[in-house]
């Protein structure tokens, strides 16, 4: 951090600290402790996250997103402050139990994971005479409850992993929460091995289709790819995607609004499912255009031949044959 940035950091964190201390005067967190935590976060997620130099405005914007009171509580809990622990337990235990019950397969698993997380939060390891609390990894970039949900989810995956030595990481994630219902979401299409490619022309069309589709998708911007993957692979509903972009500061929302002319009208308007649908439609339109452009420009196909490609690919959908060698082609 240069001097200007450091001064701004000191000023903003002083104000934030005073506000937090006023809200929780008994937590015993010092300004040095508070600043050290924020400085680590700023370095890791702001300064080091981009090659661009960090402006004072970037810093202020970043610190504004910090859930300062939750961070204050986490720091106090990490230090073993009695009052903070009581407040944490009082405010979050029943929530954690409900999240665990929602995710775990059995009541016993739910109880076990909550106990385990509590142990981790308190810190069961002592390194160089210091207890290592899981709270120390909370930076305040999301809410305390959001972070707890993630920790519980992760702990359940770890528990599942510990009891299933041969299970891959992907399989494990699919056995926790709703993912269990979509355990085959990424399974390669079955069947189709006995389908023969009839003639060299059809083979050429098939290869061109796969290559073009792969390149078209790869040409999309990251936020468009992410949206399509959420919808088609992870089975997120429009309502769930709109939840993800509900916050005005949502980065995914920001990316789509940057490209949208309607943004200027009301950038703070609530994102409805219909908006997400429009984003999807735009992404489809983009990938379809890129797909057609490549079939025409690179493979030299006519409109009629492109239709043939689409027809063949549609026929193949039942057997999944067209994608059999996708990894080699893509």
């Amino acid at each position: 951090m240069n001097d200007v940035l450091q001064q701004a950091f000191d000023l903003v964190t002083s104000e934030l600290f005073e506000r937090c201390r006023e809200n929780a005067p008994n937590f015993g967190v010092t300004i040095e402790r508070f600043r050290a935590s924020l400085e680590r976060t700023v370095r890791k997620y702001l300064i080091d996250a981009s090659d661009e130099p960090t402006a004072e405005a970037d810093l202020r914007e970043f610190i504004e997103t910090i859930q300062a009171d939750d961070l204050f509580l986490a720091l106090a809990c990490a230090d073993g402050n009695e009052r903070a622990w009581w407040e944490f337990d009082h405010n979050n235990r029943s929530y954690m139990e409900r999240v665990a019950r929602h995710l775990a397969k059995t009541e016993a698993d739910a109880e076990e994971v909550v106990d385990w997380v509590y142990g981790e939060l308190y810190g069961t390891r002592v390194v160089d005479g210091e207890r290592v609390s899981k709270f120390a990894t909370y930076s305040g970039r999301g809410s305390m409850r959001g972070w707890l949900r993630t920790v519980i989810w992760h702990s359940l995956v770890d528990m599942h992993r510990a009891s299933h030595d041969e299970v891959s990481l992907d399989e494990m994630t699919e056995n926790v929460g709703e993912g269990a219902a979509h355990a085959n979401f990424a399974a390669a299409p079955a069947g189709g091995e006995d389908l023969m490619i009839e003639g060299i022309t059809r083979d050429r069309y098939r290869k061109a289709t796969v290559t073009s589709l792969s390149n078209a998708f790869a040409s999309l911007e990251a936020h468009e790819r992410l949206l399509l993957m959420y919808y088609h692979v992870d089975n997120l509903k429009l309502r769930e995607i709109s939840r993800l972009v509900e916050n005005e500061a949502s980065p995914l929302r920001g990316w789509f609004q940057r490209r949208s002319q309607s943004r200027e009208k009301d950038p703070n308007a609530r994102i409805h499912e219909s908006t997400v649908m429009r984003w999807l439609e735009k992404s489809y339109a983009r990938v379809l255009q890129l797909f057609r452009d490549e079939l025409k420009g690179v493979h030299g196909l006519s409109d009629a031949e492109i239709e043939t490609c689409m027809g063949l690919a549609t026929q193949d959908l039942a057997g999944g044959d067209i994608y059999r060698n996708l990894t080699e082609n893509a």
């Binding site: 981009s50 073993g80 999240v99 990481l169 709703e178 993957m229 089975n235």
Partner: protein
């Protein structure tokens, strides 16, 4: 097609193609490089939409390419929505709440089968009451 909710486009055939392609493509994703996955803190911040654009750019790129992290965020969004509809209140103690140290000690006992004084780095003085915030505030 799997997810066809509310989508009514002229070229549904292309969507079918794309979906098939994406599913097969994601089946080839490997989650072996666990060190490069997002940390819990970033998951929580992303799911809540609480990131600056600068910070989010590499995260979105990572999620677009990493099936493990993306799937995890998808699950967390579902969870977030499920719990948003039913606000979970703070627990209301019927009696004076136990001291935090007692709560933790009880949990550690269940986890490790003993009182585990060794890991209780903070020796707390016995008390029947939780710390009274208001009283302490008044003293100041």
């Amino acid at each position: 097609m799997g997810n066809t909710e509310n989508i009514n486009l002229s070229d549904a055939r292309f969507q079918g193609l794309l979906e098939r392609f994406l599913r097969v493509r994601s089946a080839g994703d490997k989650a072996s490089d666990a060190d490069r996955h997002l940390d819990e803190d970033s998951f929580a911040a992303f799911v809540e939409g609480n990131m600056t654009m600068r910070e989010a750019t590499p995260v979105i790129k990572h999620l677009a390419d990493c099936g493990f992290c993306r799937h995890k965020t998808a699950e967390l969004v579902k969870l977030d929505l499920a719990f948003a509809e039913t606000e979970i209140p703070a627990s209301i103690p019927q009696t004076a709440p136990a001291r935090a140290a007692d709560v933790i000690e009880g949990i550690l006992s269940r986890l490790f089968g003993s009182g585990d004084a060794a890991v209780m780095a903070h020796e707390e003085k016995p008390s029947d009451e939780p710390p009274a915030a208001d009283e302490e505030k008044e003293k100041k």
